[in-house]
């Protein structure tokens, strides 16, 4: 048997007279190098869109196949067979089962892991039986070689009836050969890999006639999956249900039998095509590494160390570019305001550009978090984390894979929610996304510090335990516990539309492919800026308008009154400006809403001034500190000690200090729970592809915040 590693002999066929761009679908098992191949074929020439109704992104890209031939490549979710087990996998049948659809591919490229050929061929044989022209991209030839797997590519090509291209997509080996084959007119495989049982023949014939199909196997799939197929009308579905009932069609048994039959056929093929020279060492490298990395003690310690590094990175590394973005936005605004004036300029600078700045400022954190996540995923370490945490997380309705989003939530809920995408199970994923914003994110830190400094004395216990630090830790812990308990409640409430499986391939350790890491970073940042950014900017502008305008001439009246008071009180020029700003905010629409809100928030111990702060920090909680400075006319510089002394001097009607511990704790609790982050809501909307989840989240968290703050105030009062 000769072993070829290069596909030199390929039947040269006539080139397609390409008028339209060919549609090529990329399909394969998870971990078969599909993403690497997609990235190799399209580069950064990718577009991320939506499939209707599911949470996976539709990734398409243009590939230059020959100098004058382009093709549109669509990346389908990884799957083990054409019988979808998750909602997201249904995208595949939607695309492949409707030959009349405009998206129906002209060609499919099936990626297969050469070191795992048997299992990878299952999907291929199903596709071949649908009679779609196909190419088998025999990926990871290098891994196969080191594992002693020898594949006779020539013989495999003969057996499968389609071109087989040996390749190593991570390194780009075989891409050129693949492109040559892609440019040719390809026919479906003439080989049939599965014989439909005779007793199903009448059924298949009826379905074929009814739907006008030409393929028996496709008709069989209609029988199995008509309920999930969007293009099947209601009458047709009823007709199908009656037909299947009459024929005694048992979908589960038939699918199981088909899979067993296909595996038998594949084993037969591989007998002649593949030789495995047993590697002498039984324990593979990955297994030995696992003994340390998933060890009872070291496993968790190493995981903690990695987490610590990620955190440090998000907190410290990201702060430099974030400061730069803040500074850049401030300078840009200053420049514009110095040179132009008028209400439109204010709208542009304080509304739109400030809103854009609020979007861009998250990009460094997103980029850093996803750089780490991509590396951990690429190396295969993430599968081990899932493995170690699954039992603990499952008790609360979560899943081993929920660990990363929850922990990332301490830095920022926006990238954290995006990282929940690795959870395949719908219910587990929704629960994770729902509870993640309860983790205290870094935007709460300024609010926490100001309020704690205000009411918690800076005393030390045992010489090193700072009381303020303990309170801060208590806030973080409460947030975490609330997230866990909420998850547990949701687990009881939500009905699962699909079963939760943990059955998954445990990938071997690999070196990360840096190009994939880079593409992940770019793609995630782009998705955030483009999709979440729209909502954030819109709401920032609305809030700006509310805070900058009042009804009629209320602003001039407020300014005049403030000037008179200033003269009486002997204010300096800066004090005067601050006092005017404060008086104007009071008479703005936001101030009116704040006053209208007062009866509702009085039970929590708040007055209308805090009401304005709550309103303006609706878009982003860190705005609280800034608004408080404006209301209490502290001025631009948000200095914690200035704010603190100013707030302490604030008196209530009876001349007592306004910020009692009860009020401050009530506010702390409110900010701990309340969903005051438009970015998070926007990203949840994007990730769940529905408004229901962000709305439910908003109502739940705000309700929780209100009730908890009410209880806190009543207890401490």
């Amino acid at each position: 048997m000769t072993v070829t590693t290069q596909p030199e002999v390929l039947q040269p066929e006539k080139l397609t007279p390409q008028q339209t761009v060919a549609k090529i679908a990329l399909i394969g098992n998870p971990n078969s190098g599909k993403s690497s191949l997609f990235n190799q074929l399209t580069g950064l020439n990718q577009k991320v869109g939506n499939f209707p109704g599911v949470t996976v992104d539709k990734k398409t890209g243009i590939s230059q196949i020959t100098p004058n031939l382009k093709a549109q490549i669509i990346d389908l979710p990884g799957t083990y067979s054409l019988y979808p087990k998750s909602l997201d996998e249904r995208v595949i049948i939607d695309l492949l089962y409707d030959p009349n659809s405009t998206h129906y591919p002209d060609l499919v490229i099936v990626t297969a892991d050469a070191s795992n050929l048997k299992r990878n061929l299952l999907l291929f044989t199903q596709l071949a039986d649908l009679h779609i022209p196909a190419i088998l991209a025999l990926n990871m030839m290098d891994v196969a070689e080191t594992e002693g797997v020898k594949i006779d590519v020539e013989a495999l090509q003969q057996e499968l009836g389609v071109p087989v291209i040996p390749m190593n997509a991570r390194k780009g080996v075989g891409i050129a050969a693949l492109k040559i084959v892609m440019s040719q007119q390809l026919a479906p495989s003439p080989v049939s890999f599965y014989t439909i049982p005779t007793e199903l023949k009448p059924l298949v014939r009826s379905i074929k006639e009814s739907f006008g199909l030409r393929n028996d196997y496709l008709a069989l799939h209609y029988a199995h999956q008509y309920k999930s197929l969007k293009f099947v009308s209601e009458e047709k579905a009823e007709w199908m249900a009656a037909l299947l009932e009459a024929e005694g069609f048992n979908s589960n048994t038939l699918q199981a039998n088909e899979t067993i039959a296909r595996y038998a056929r594949i084993s037969e093929i591989l007998l002649d095509v593949m030789r495995v020279e047993k590697v002498t060492k039984d324990e593979k490298f990955s297994n030995r590494l696992d003994q340390i990395l998933t060890h009872k003690v070291f496993g968790y310690l190493i995981f903690l160390a990695i987490l610590f590094t990620v955190f440090q990175a998000i907190f410290t590394w990201a702060s430099y570019p974030m400061d730069l973005i803040d500074l850049g936005v401030a300078n840009l605004n200053g420049l514009i305001q110095d040179n132009f004036s008028g209400p439109l300029v204010n709208l542009l600078t304080e509304g739109i550009i400030a809103g854009l700045g609020g979007v861009l400022v998250f990009v460094p954190q997103i980029a850093i978090l996803f750089a780490f996540i991509a590396i951990l995923e690429e190396t295969g370490y993430m599968a081990r984390v899932t493995f170690m945490m699954d039992k603990i997380m499952r008790k609360f309705g979560l899943n081993g894979k929920s660990v990363v989003p929850l922990i990332s939530g301490v830095a920022c809920a926006v990238p954290a929610v995006m990282s929940a995408r690795t959870i395949e199970n719908w219910k587990d994923r929704m629960i994770t996304i729902f509870v993640t914003p309860l983790m205290s994110c870094s935007a709460r830190i300024p609010v926490y510090t100001v309020l704690i400094a205000l009411v918690v004395p800076e005393t030390y216990y045992l010489g090193f335990l700072n009381l303020q630090g303990l309170v801060l830790m208590g806030l973080y812990l409460t947030g975490f516990l609330t997230a866990i308990v909420s998850a547990w409640v949701l687990k009881k409430v939500l009905k699962a539309r699909e079963r939760s499986y943990f059955i998954m391939e445990f990938p071997v350790y690999k070196m990360p492919r840096w190009k994939n890491v880079g593409i992940t970073i770019v793609e995630k940042s782009k998705a955030f800026v483009l999709e979440a950014g729209k909502v954030i900017v819109a709401i920032s502008v609305i809030l700006w308008v509310l805070a900058s305008y009042g009804p009629g001439n209320s602003f001039e009246v407020a300014e005049q009154k403030a000037r008179q008071q200033a003269v009486a009180r002997n204010y300096t020029e800066t004090e005067l400006q601050n006092h005017i700003a404060s008086a104007q905010l009071e008479s703005s629409y936001a101030g009116i809403v704040g006053r209208a809100m007062e009866p509702a928030i009085r039970p929590l111990g708040y007055d209308w001034k805090i009401g304005i702060a709550l309103l303006t920090s609706f878009a982003a909680r860190e705005v609280f500190v800034g608004t408080m400075s404006t209301i209490y006319s502290i001025g631009e510089e948000e200095n914690v000690s200035t704010i603190k002394s100013k707030l302490m001097a604030e008196k209530d009607e009876n001349g007592q200090p306004f910020f009692t511990p009860a009020r401050a704790f009530s506010l702390l609790v409110f900010y701990m729970f309340a969903m005051q982050c438009v970015s998070t809501l926007a990203v949840v909307r994007r990730e769940t592809k529905s408004w229901t989840w962000p709305l439910a989240q908003f109502i739940y968290m705000s309700g929780l915040a209100y009730i908890a703050a009410f209880i806190t105030f009543q207890i401490f009062k």
Partner: protein, 83 residues
């Protein structure tokens, strides 16, 4: 093969394997989960080996057809072994 004392359970499953112990798949109990397991290569007649356990005993990894699968104990329980 060692003689093992027959327990109350009629048949051994992958759940009962010891670390490093091997067995041959006889049948799959849960019809729906069977489809998933079959697709992943857990075909009756295939040899499985218990490869490792997570720190709290669940989930586990098994080796089937030369690759590693991870699954929960209640999923492993549905894979029955030949005697």
């Amino acid at each position: 093969m060692r003689n093992r004392v027959e327990e109350h359970k009629e048949q051994k499953s992958v759940r009962d394997l010891k670390l490093g112990e091997r067995g041959v798949i006889c049948c799959l109990q849960d019809a729906e989960m069977a489809l998933k397991l079959l697709e992943m290569g857990c075909i009756p007649g295939t040899e499985v080996k218990l490869n490792s356990r997570a720190p709290f005993g669940d989930p586990i990894t098994i080796i089937v057809n030369d690759y590693t699968l991870s699954l929960r104990l209640d999923e492993a329980e549905t894979i029955l072994l030949k005697k």
